[in-house]
Point group: C3
């Protein structure tokens, strides 16, 4: 792996992140797909700034990860963040194409899998996101399963999320995580969340009450030398959630519309999200922002506990 101190044409660690790494201070990695693909400008920039501020408030250092013109950045200054928030046509990078964007001098934002890889490279142990990718509805026929699950099985980074994206098949996603040996811990709840909703209707494989307990579990895994990452599920606050019954109705309606209109391939997910935004009168986006902020806060607390 590239040593953090090595500045190259392809690899840049911000001063703030570099100082934190050298001092053994807590860090939280952040993905950039949510900025370039997940929310419209200028709300995306406001969200990104807010999340970084929250992490600092909790005593940790944020490290937003992105590839700009073929250079992998670990930590982004505010100017770069503002520019990124207005970038069009950024690639969406996963394990398979992170190095492709670097080799070709392209700009690309990182999904969960690529952010985990970059975080591990830099020595960052905790990462906050919205929701992970997983097993798609209909995967028993399509075999469409995100690379995020395998990444969790192999790369030793703790990922704080509101569970899996609710467009996915959540029962099958939990099965795939179990098959791959990935710990799934819900914070302070016996049930696994469903992104916008606090409760997916499924029991969580594991439950721990708070950040220190989660940090103890992770530290034990590291000490035992057990490979791979951990998924921490953090149900959105009750005040911000949209209950599952309501969301499932929106998702079903959106899937139905997509089918009737013949939406296919890469257009499906953006189409579904915009339909759900419309059907929920914009509440889906507000909840998304709330859950990302809540995940950043929990991730920072876990990072602080791990560094203690």
């Amino acid at each position: 792996l590239i040593p953090v101190s090595e500045e190259t044409a392809n690899f840049h660690v911000s001063c703030e992140v570099n100082d934190a790494l050298r001092a053994g201070k807590p860090l939280v990695a952040l993905e950039s797909t949510i900025i370039t693909h997940g929310m419209p400008w200028p709300g995306n920039l406001e969200m990104a700034r807010g999340v970084e501020a929250l992490i600092r408030e909790e005593g940790a250092v944020p490290a937003t990860i992105v590839v700009i013109d073929g250079r992998l950045h670990i930590g982004l200054g505010d100017d770069d963040l503002a520019a990124l928030a207005q970038t069009k046509d950024a690639l969406k990078l996963s394990r398979a194409d992170l190095a492709y964007a670097i080799a070709e001098g392209r700009t690309g934002s990182t999904t969960v899998a690529a952010t985990m890889i970059a975080a591990e490279m830099a020595g960052i142990r905790v990462f906050a996101t919205g929701g992970i990718g997983g097993v798609h509805r209909g995967a028993e026929e399509s075999f469409d399963i995100s690379a995020d699950i395998d990444e969790l099985a192999r790369t030793p980074v703790l990922v704080v999320s509101a569970g899996a994206k609710a467009l996915l098949d959540i029962p099958k996603t939990l099965e795939a995580l179990e098959t791959r040996g990935v710990p799934v811990v819900t914070c302070a709840s016996e049930t696994f969340p469903a992104f916008w909703s606090r409760d997916s209707g499924l029991p969580s494989p594991l439950t721990l009450p708070d950040a220190p307990a989660i940090a103890r579990f992770q530290a034990t895994r590291e000490r035992l030398g057990i490979e791979g990452g951990m998924l921490v599920a953090n149900p959105v606050d009750a005040a911000d959630e949209i209950p599952r019954s309501e969301m499932e109705a929106h998702i079903a309606a959106a899937l139905d519309t997509a089918k009737r209109q013949g939406i296919a391939r890469k257009e499906v997910t953006p189409f579904l999200l915009s339909e759900i935004y419309r059907l929920s009168d914009g509440r889906s986006l507000a909840t998304n922002i709330a859950l990302v902020r809540s995940n950043a806060r929990l991730a920072a607390r876990i990072a602080v506990a791990l560094a203690a």
Copy 2:
């Protein structure tokens, strides 16, 4: 990894196992789920003691693996074994939650995946069990696949079993093992066994005649640096087997009853096993004990051949 010599609050290697490891003597790891969840007291204790005695008879040292009050034990004295056999509410630990039990100070028995991890940590190359987990019947819809298959693909421990548990979908389990690159060797038979039955009706991917040949194969894999474990299938003795036609009828009847009674989730497997016990007039348990003993003996012989 934790060096074997290091005694910590979380990790304990028995004197007998420690001496054997230092002296390069043959060892056989044993799982503990069969003791806490697989058989009722006091038969479970009798079985466990019998299996340890058999392994010693063959010139190897048994190492039962279990987490007691947050401490991972490699090798258990007879007092601890007797206490474990009467423990209620032990967790069933796999790759995902082995460190959870340790971090939380809980007691848990180890499944195949967790036992493999602990065996590798301690430097034990051979492990005897009843049957591995695999692809569940109906997995084409449920995606329910045990973490044991992935563990065999990644962790360099040789697992001696009577094949996969017969409640599983055995053809799909063999396919999943092939996909993951796991060698499946049946000892002295051209057909893969089905736990209680000598013959699953499926050809074994590989066949070797005896323990020395299996040890040579394993030693060659280690010398070539090929990652991952190996599944050795050991058909139960003909005198002890229940033929597949009979068992398949019991399994089908038990599945049918479970469906009619609405048994779900974690209750399914214990329910099916108790139904099969009833339908077979207790012979399923007798065969289970016989096959575990037979596997322990073969595992010890392989360990002796590997240490030679």
Copy 3:
């Protein structure tokens, strides 16, 4: 891993390959299953000699990989190649049984997975083949998925192919590669090929224009320390291809005949290939030879670019 310089009873590196490795010269690994199982004698020998000559023409050194009488050969002299081309009953070796053949003193040709393992052992970074294994048609029920996909996910060798074998379910094969995080790059085409046909009807996950660009991508992956291999898809020359519409009709007819005649298990693939040979008036074999030659040439150019 066994050091290349170490000659053992189980491991032999040819002088030409050994010299190239020491001098840092470009090398291209070649599989042997295509010689023993893929084509009839003497056409197979002619093809193998032609491919080796092409690789030398491009300035690289060919390294045919095979197990003969329990010895793993990296690089084969012409006498051995001629003998291999007439060998009957060679095993077909994958990850699970490569060491089995070595331990048992058997002769076996290497599939994609086993060739990748041997190439990595020897330090060869590029490998040319016809088409990789993948997800079989009907795998949603059968779970029949080749070990080649997992090997690409774990072993750092670049594999040049004409895509996946066209008997497979190509959409599902691409999904499985994505799930496992394997880069799939088609050379100079936006669509993924279908072995005998230039276009599978599916967009390629990634596209690069030529060997130097592919080498830059691979070198970036190596520098970043990203695990696993890469699949390079190389559409057969237009002059040599059989269009997909024609091939799909032959494949459907062959599958239908196999079903009616009750062909099962290991007999299915050879039967389908011979039916397709008959239905295409021998053009399927001519195209197969053309694509292997084309892949060898591209692989050599990538190896030369990587070594520069």
